[in-house]
Symmetry: C2
Subunit: 209 residues, 2 copies
């Protein structure tokens, strides 16, 4: 976490990500963050302006790439001759899996992401909606095309459940622990496969299958 080879700004972002994942935004203090980053306390306000802006930058650093990856994967999936529901789901899930495999704090970030759902923080919601709302809208359109037999309301119900399950699974909650012989990558890829098949089954249920 110290890692003095990184710049002050990067070390703060890394330490903040880790501590926000473990103690929440209110629960992690700037003194804990700067101590973990081996940086002076005032550096946060110098480089980011405030704690709130630091939180936003923790998101921006990862979400820019994550959502770009999702859109890329979606475009690729829809370019296939006969794109399936599973392809659209995988386009949403797999980039998040890749992120969670990032050596430098990616797995911490997906837990931060899960916290953002739990926090009903108005300021944070606006920031996320303003910057990344268009991605979710594109996926909603793609899902609607894959599931034409579902009413709009019904579709939103199911997508909401899928988004929740995804957030939960990616955050590594719950009882599942990987077997000791299994690599992190194997573990995560199995997780993504399970989630895609599980979500597809739930989304299709009641339709013609």
């Amino acid at each position: 976490m110290a890692e003095l080879r990184f710049s002050t700004k990067q070390r703060i972002l890394g330490a903040a990500e880790d501590l926000f994942a473990r103690r929440g935004f209110a629960g992690a203090s700037l003194r804990q963050v700067t101590a973990a980053a081996k940086v002076n306390l005032a550096a946060v306000n110098y480089h980011f302006g405030s704690k709130d802006r630091l939180i936003e930058e923790v998101f921006r650093r990862r979400l820019d790439e994550l959502n770009a990856g999702r859109l890329r994967a979606l475009k690729q999936a829809l370019a296939k001759p006969e794109p399936k529901l599973e392809d659209v789901l995988a386009a949403f899930i797999k980039p998040a899996l890749e992120l969670s495999l990032d050596r430098e704090g990616g797995s911490a970030f997906v837990r931060v992401l899960a916290r953002a759902y739990a926090e009903h923080n108005e300021r944070l919601r606006k920031f996320l909606s303003d910057n990344y709302g268009h991605v979710l809208r594109e996926f909603a359109t793609a899902f609607a095309r894959q599931l034409p037999q579902l009413g709009k309301e019904e579709l939103y119900w199911r997508l909401d459940i899928v988004a929740g399950a995804l957030t939960y699974a990616m955050a590594d909650f719950g009882v599942i622990k990987r077997r000791s012989g299994q690599s992190e990558r194997e573990f995560r890829e199995r997780a993504a496969d399970h989630l895609v098949r599980f979500a597809a089954a739930g989304l299709k249920e009641g339709s013609e299958r």
Copy 2:
């Protein structure tokens, strides 16, 4: 929230539940809680001893009844001549639905519950595991009997996803808003039905169906 007809202790628990749901355990201060409860600041430490113990009592007040209801429903479901997977799922989900319909803060509590998942707080996890772990173990056994074709590891994968989706859906996250003409009860019952069918589809997927 004020509701002076309730005792000091009950008013504190109600206000704490509401504020923990909205701002988290670290984010809600005892001064905010006691102000909302129209109670003196010192009353929390007098009646509960500390903020941590107050948090535990917020859980205990609801979880005793919720988990008793789940075990009752599970017993009833397993007493049927041919219990189905959907029956076991409903036994887990429906009591939570009932709780979320409780006029006096039930819907706030399910959001508190979702926060407890997000918090990796060791103390809280131990409290929940010590007091209610046996309920989850009974359900795991029942699910295993309904899905004998699934390996133990595979089953745990899927149950974890179901638990996450349930927590998420019950916490009323996400984009779904009920139509203005729809009652809270109608809305929640539709939610539970969707969730049971969705979860059942995902749990069975890949088996004989």
